[in-house]
Structures are given as structure tokens and as C-alpha cells.
């Protein structure tokens, strides 16, 4: 089964961290990071960023640790209107 990606948040008050720094905060190898997703500022004033990581590289308990939180749900979303059946 393919190793899925999970959504995590990291904290860094030293500006936008690069992927290597994000991996270091998470305690995973940089090869586990989703490079296409990157490091996404979600509340940069408070040093909060989102990343995606291979699920196998992190615990799935959802427990908070120093500098990071997750994994978080990444549910499917759909429009609240008619569907085009074409």
C-alpha cells in the first residue's frame, strides 16, 4: 500500500523555514517531506506553518510535541450545489 501523506503544523519564529528545517523540527528525514506542498505559512506572525509528510515517518497519535502538531485531517471537500453530470 502506498505511503500516504499527512498534514502537520510546525512552529518556527525564525521566519519561513525551508523543508530541511521543517524536517528537523518534525524529527524526520527530509526525504519524507512533500516537496510539492512545501512549507505553507498559515499564521506567520505567530510562527505557524503547515507541511505534508509521509505518514510512515510520524506517529498517528495526534499528540502535541515541542515545535509541531498533527497529523491533521485532510478531508475531501465538495461544492454545496448541483453537480454537472456531463
Amino acid at each position: 500500500m502506498a505511503d500516504s501523506l499527512v498534514l502537520m503544523t510546525i512552529e518556527s519564529l525564525e521566519g519561513v523555514p525551508d523543508l530541511a528545517r521543517a524536517a528537523s523540527i518534525l524529527g524526520v528525514d527530509v526525504s519524507a517531506m512533500d516537496t510539492a506542498f512545501g512549507v505553507v505559512p498559515i499564521d506567520p506572525e505567530n510562527g505557524k506553518y503547515a507541511v505534508q509528510v509521509r505518514a510512515s515517518a510520524v506517529s498517528d497519535s495526534g499528540k502535541t510535541a515541542d515545535g509541531f502538531n498533527g497529523p491533521y485531517s485532510n478531508p475531501r471537500i465538495e461544492g454545496y450545489g448541483p453537480k454537472n453530470e456531463d
Binding site: L7, V40, I42, Y80, G81
Partner: protein, 445 residues
Amino acid sequence: MRVSVIVSMPAEQNLRSLSLAAFTPGRIAAPTLTAMRSSDLYIDPKFPPLPLSAKRADGIDLAMASADVAPTFVTRGTIDTGSIERMLQENRGIEIFADPEIGLFETPHCGLAAVGTKSDVESKLDVAGLLAKGLDGRRVAVAVMDTGINLAHLRRRGLRPKIDRQIFWAPPGVAHTPGQFAVDHGTMCAFDALIAAPACTLLDFPILKSTTPGGSAMAGFLSDALLAFSYLNTQRTTASFLRKYKALVVSNSWGMYHPSWDFPVGHPGRYADNPNHPFNIMVGTLARSGADVLFAAGNCGADCPDGRCQGVTAGTVSGANAHPDVLTIAGCDVSDTRVGYSSQGPGIAGMASQKPDLTAYTHFVGSETFGTGTPDSGTSAACPVAAGCIAAIRTKLPTGNTTSKDLFSQLLANALPKPGPGSGWNKDYGAGVIRPMAVASQLGL
């Protein structure tokens, strides 16, 4: 603020005459009530004084309830709330009572057929009045977070849409062709935003076209929305954006239909009820930065929920759709009656409770995206209708002058209230049906 009141007055000859004239068969013309007690009180001349019987210690004397002998008469009018005390002091014997709006609890609309047209929506929103005030959305950006926009279809439907091709984000694998996507849900939303704000500039964010494995034709993943919001938040502070636009309105006609799409209840990474979920943090950041962020309430109303709700109709206003910093939009038809699929409050525990906030129009013939005569439906249509109203108001109310929070408060305070248990917010309509002209007038625009 003027309010409707019921006024009781001690009997006087002119009141008896008016009452007798109104209620005696064969007498048509009633004399006008001229005995205004104060210019602060406006008496409704079409409402005849009604004789009120005398109250005795052992009950009510019904014999005293006729116009020729009644000791008191009641009528109705309006008065400024600040004048009530003085009015009572200056006029002995007068009493003033609240005359609250009452109405039937209408049956929510559940049929497939459209109710009304775009013209009806324009009329209800007083778009002509907005345009006369110069409130047309010019230099306001409206981001449509959806399946992408088809400008050619909008033009065929008689609109003259503007789009900003520089500010655009699409999920990986999706063509970078703003304004040239297949005619679908996003085109309907763009059409509906342009009803009240025909001169706004559309920003195309086709987040529901994810090609992530498992996605469907009109679906994406929350991480797509997260990336789009983060990109937009970066863009809106650039010098170029600030030079071009006075304000940013973000319309979101999407959400999570069923709890099974999320982590289980109690998981700390769950989305639906978790203000610390990264997307909910992101939404708060964008809203605090000055964007007016709107979300549709959802289509899981108890009367006729969408099949994707799988029968779950409680606590369905969830996730960012129940975020305290966004305006959550329920849907009604052009007769101001809730559509039965519009999700009802309160918001899910953990997020804002008083959701939806406000109601806007849906289920009318508008974009005809899905075929001739088909309605623009779902709270998906209501959300951009409201977004267009906000964009129109923002034409002369830049974000720097009035925050989202303050503007949203004005929208709630000036909404057309709808009957419900208790006063103020109710679970079906929030504060009521959107009335952009009342807000514009209130703000002196």
C-alpha cells in the same frame, strides 16, 4: 431607531367617531385621526382606533367594549425609541407597547423547480439602488474558490465579467487557464457574485478540481484550499494588489458533507470542530488581515438534505463554515423563505455556535449553468450572492476604513428579521435575510 408600537389612549370623542366610522356597516370614509400627541409619534391613519373594554377586579366588562362607551382605544404607529419616555411623561393616560413582527412559519422550499429569476433577486437586493449610489464592486476583488470560471458562458448570459489573470492558483496538475474552465459549479458562483457587483474583478481559484488520487469531478481536498488561502494571503499584501483593489471578498461554496470524511470524534487532528486545525488557523489569518471571508452554510437542512449528507442534519455547519471570523450564509428563495436543504444551526460544538449568520437568495434561474431553466441552487448560490452584496458595499467602504468584523455586524443588524423561536438569531436564517441597501444607507454610502 423607529420601532412599531401599539398605543392605548384614554377615550376622546374623535377616537369614538373614528372607531364608529370604521366599524359601522355602510359607512365608508373614516375621518383622519388628527389628534397627534407629538410629532415623535406617527399614528397609522389606516388603522382605526379599536375600543378596549374596561378591566374590573372580577374580570373584563365586555359591555364596555363598544366604540360609544369604551374607556380606552388602541391604535398603532411608529415612534423613535429615544422619544418614548418623554412621550409618556407628556401625555397622561397613554401607554405604549411593542408591536413585534409576526409571520407564519413558512414551509421551506424543497422542490427541484426554480423559484424566481435573477431579476427577482436584483429586485430583492435593490441592485438598482446600489448602482445609483455607485456601489457596483468596482476595484473590489472577489475570489471564487470553486471549480473554476468560464467567462465565455458568463458573457453569453449577458454579463461583462472582469478577471485578474495574475492572481490565480490551481492545484497541481490543473491547467493555469483562469476564466477558461468547463462550465460548472464555479461559473454559477461567479455569475451569482456579479448580480450585486457587476463591476467587481473575479479571482479564479479552481480548488475543487484537484487531481489528487481519490478526487471526483467536483471535489478537492482541504489541503488544496489551505494552499490557495495561503497564496491569497500573500498576494493581498503586495503593493500591486493594494494599488489595484480596495478590498478582497472570498466566496467559498463548499465544505465537508459528512463526518465520515473527517477524523473520528475526539481525535486531536479532526477538522470539523477544531479551531486549531491548520485550515481553520489559515482562515482566521486571512480574515484578520482584512479579507471578507464568506462560507456557505451547507446543504444538510432537515427538510430535504442533499444525499451526500447521508441523513445527518444536526451539527452540519462545521469546520471553516462555522469559523467565528467568517460570514456563514444560509439560503432562501426570492419569497424570503428558507430552502429546505439549507443547513441549520447551531454550529458544531467547538466552533462558533450562532451559525449560520445570515441568509441570501438561491434556487432562482440565473446562470443556467446546468441547462436552460435550471436554478442556481444550494447554499452554493446564496454564498456568492451575499459576496456580491459585500463587494458592492466595499466599493465605497475600503477595508482600511471598516474591518470585516464591523461590516459583518452591520449586515446582521440590518438584515430582514425572520420569525423564529425567540428574538434575534435563529437557527434557520441567522440574523435574517441580507439587505445591502439598508447597510449602505446606515453607513451613509
